[in-house]
Symmetry: C2
Subunit: 367 residues, 2 copies
C-alpha cells in the first residue's frame, strides 16, 4: 500500500463516510440510500457575481431496496471501491480502464455489473458530485493532450522540469495536475496564453514568443482537456497570472473560451476548480479582419449550424455584456468566420510579431 498524501487521505475518508452512512441505515433496519446532486440543465445556474456556471441544490435519492435503483446503487459502490483501491495503491487510471476493472458477471448469472462504459461513466460523475471530489482526486484521468512551455520551473511526479528548456515539443500536460502531482517552482511568467491550435502554438514556441514576452504558452489541441483547463486555472489562482485566450473566429472558438471562463453545463459541479472567470478573450475578434487588413478570401462562409450556434450564444447570460453582444452580432452580420492561420496571409510570424503585441498593447480584449 502506498503512502497517502493529504488529498488522498481526504478522498478516502469521503468514500468511507459514504459507505458508513449506508451501513448505518442497514443496521438501523432502514432502506439505505445515496444522495446525489442532480446534473441537469434545470439544476444548473449562471452565478453572475462569481461569473460561473454552478450546480443548484436539487438532489436525488438512490435507494437500495428499489427495483429500478438497486443496480445503480450497487454500481456506485463498485466504482467507489475501485477508486479506493487505486488510491490505496498510489496508482491512477483511465475511466475506460475502470470500466474493465469493475466489469464482472454477477454470481452465477449472465448479468454483468456493467454492460458498456456508457454505464460506468455517469456513475463516476455521480460519485464525484456525491462526495465532492474531482475525478482526478479519485485517481482517474482523462485524455492527456496538450503542450506547455514558458519561464517556469515545475515538479511533475517528483521530477524537476524546466519549462524554459523543452525544445520544440514542449512539456506534455498530463491529465492529473493536482498539487500532489505538479508543483510550481521559480517563475518569471507575467501571463498565460492559451492557444486553441497546436499549429499556432508551435509558431509561438518556434519564435520564442514566451521568452521575449515572459509568458507561459499552452495549447489543448482544440477544446482543452481537463488537465490543461485545471493547470491554467492553477496558474491563474496560485501564481496570480492573467489568462489570455487565442481562438479561431468562429462559434466553436468562442465556445472554447466560454468553457474555460465559466465552465460548461455538463460539468457545472466542477466549475469552481476548472473555470477562470477573469480569462480574457484576445482574439480572433470579428473586428480584427478589418483592423489587421486581412484579404477577403481568407474568411470562410458560416454554414447554417454556425449561424444558429452564434445566435444561441447571443442569448447566454454570460455573453450579455454589450461588448460581447456587439462581437457576436458582427460575426452573425458578416456571415463569415476565419481561422488563426488566416493571419499568416500577412506573413509567417505576423501573429507573434504584430498581431498579438498590438492587441496586448492596445488592451484590445474582451472579458
Amino acid at each position: 500500500m502506498a503512502r497517502l498524501d493529504a488529498t488522498d487521505k481526504k478522498t478516502v475518508q469521503k468514500i468511507e463516510k459514504l459507505a458508513e452512512t449506508v451501513l448505518r441505515s442497514v443496521k438501523g433496519g432502514k432502506n439505505p440510500f445515496l444522495e446525489i446532486p442532480v446534473r441537469s440543465l434545470a439544476n444548473v445556474q449562471f452565478n453572475p457575481r462569481k461569473r460561473l456556471i454552478e450546480l443548484k441544490d436539487q438532489k436525488q435519492r438512490r435507494y437500495f431496496f428499489n427495483v429500478s435503483m438497486a443496480k445503480k446503487f450497487m454500481q456506485t459502490f463498485l466504482v467507489s471501491d475501485a477508486c479506493k483501491e487505486l488510491i490505496d495503491a498510489g496508482k491512477t487510471t483511465s475511466i475506460r480502464d475502470l470500466y474493465y476493472m469493475t466489469k464482472h458477471a454477477l454470481g452465477e448469472t449472465r448479468q454483468n455489473t456493467f454492460e458498456e462504459q456508457e454505464e460506468s461513466d455517469p456513475i463516476i460523475e455521480d460519485l464525484e458530485v456525491a462526495i465532492d471530489a474531482l475525478r482526478e482526486e479519485l485517481h482517474l484521468f482523462a485524455s492527456g493532450r496538450g503542450s506547455m512551455v514558458g519561464p517556469l520551473s515545475i515538479r511533475d511526479a517528483g521530477d524537476a522540469i524546466d519549462l524554459r528548456r523543452m525544445g520544440s515539443g514542449g512539456w506534455s500536460v498530463p491529465s492529473i495536475v493536482e498539487e500532489h502531482v505538479v508543483q510550481f517552482g521559480k517563475s518569471e511568467a507575467k501571463y498565460v496564453l492559451l492557444i486553441e491550435k497546436d499549429a499556432v502554438w508551435k509558431r509561438f514556441n518556434e519564435d520564442k514568443f514566451w521568452a521575449r514576452e515572459k509568458c507561459i504558452i499552452v495549447t489543448g489541441l482544440g477544446q482543452p482537456p481537463r488537465g490543461v483547463r485545471r493547470i491554467v486555472q492553477r496558474l491563474h489562482s496560485e501564481l496570480g497570472l492573467p489568462v489570455y485566450v487565442l481562438v479561431d473566429n468562429d462559434p466553436w472558438g468562442f465556445y472554447i473560451y466560454s468553457v474555460l471562463k465559466q465552465g460548461s453545463i455538463n460539468l457545472a459541479y466542477e466549475s469552481m476548480r476548472m473555470a477562470v472567470p477573469k480569462a480574457r478573450f484576445i482574439g480572433l475578434s470579428s473586428f480584427d479582419k478589418a483592423k489587421f487588413k486581412l484579404p477577403g478570401n481568407v474568411s470562410i462562409r458560416m454554414n447554417d449550424q454556425d449561424d444558429a450556434r452564434a445566435k444561441q450564444m447571443l442569448a447566454y447570460p454570460w455573453f450579455k455584456d454589450p461588448k460581447w453582444q456587439r462581437e457576436i452580432q458582427e460575426m452573425v452580420r458578416s456571415g463569415e468566420k476565419y481561422e488563426l492561420e488566416a493571419l499568416s496571409r500577412r506573413g509567417i510570424s505576423f501573429v507573434t510579431e504584430e498581431y498579438l503585441p498590438r492587441k496586448l498593447r492596445d488592451r484590445d480584449w474582451l472579458e
Copy 2:
C-alpha cells in the same frame, strides 16, 4: 535570413533545380513541364525483400501550356516558393498555414490561387515526390501528438532534455524530429515499446516500466502521427533498438502495426524514412485471451466492418506469413475483438507486471 544547415541547403538546392529545369525549357522555346511520380494504387508495390510498400516508376508530366494542367503547374511553384521562404527564414509551419500563405487572388480576377486546403495538400505531396524531400525537410509539420520517456538523453531545438526526468506527462514528440532538430545523446535503452493508447502508456509510465526494463516507451494516441513514426524509425536505425508494438486486438490495431512496419499505400514514397520493417507485434494477440485467462465479458463483438477489414488483411502480401494468417484467422473465427484496457480485469498493473514481461520472456511476438 537564418543560417542553413546541410539538410536545408540540400532541400533548397532541390527546389532551385526544379525551377531551373523549367526556366531552361522556357528559354529554349519549349513547353515547360514537371515530372511527378504517380501516387496511386497501381504505382505502388510491396517489396518482399525490403518488406516495404514502395512507389514504382510511373511518372506523370505536368505541362505549363495545357489548359487543364496550367493551374496545378502554377500551384506547384507557389508551394515551392513558400517552402523556400520558410527554409530561408529558418521557420516551420503547418500545411494549413501554408494554404493561407499561398492563397491570394490572381491579378484583378476573382480567381484564387487555391480555393480550399484540399487543393494545396496534394500539391505538397507532389512536391515531396518530385524533388524527393520529406514534408519535414520542406519545413512543414503535421499534428504533434504523442509522448515519450525512457533512459535516453536528447537535444531538441538546442535544449538538452533528459527523458528519464519528464514527470507524468512525458516529452511531447514534435512533428519534425529530423536530425537537425532532434539529436540522440546518452542512452541505456534496450528497446522501444510503441503503445497505441495514451491511457495504457500512462500505466507504463506511472509504473516506471521503462526504468525497470530499460526501454523507451512512446505513444502516438491511436495511429501515430508522422513525428512519432519517424522518431521510432530513427531510434531503430540509428541506435539499433528493436521495436515492439502494443495495440488493441482489432483490425484497427493491426493496421496501426502494419503502417509502422511497412508504410501505407498513400504515403508509399516515404516508406524508406518512416517504416520499420522489423517491428515486432507483441500484442494483443487473438490467442492472448485464452493464454492470459481473460473473462469472456471483456471482449467486444466484431461488427460487419471489422469482419470485412480483417478478411481484407488476410489478402495483404505483408500478412502472407502462416503465423499472421493464423493470427488473423483466429480473430475472424472468434468474431471478437478486445482492447488493451481489458487486461486490467486481471489487475491494475497486470499489463506491466505480468503480461508484457511474460510475452517478452517467451519471445511471444510476430514479425
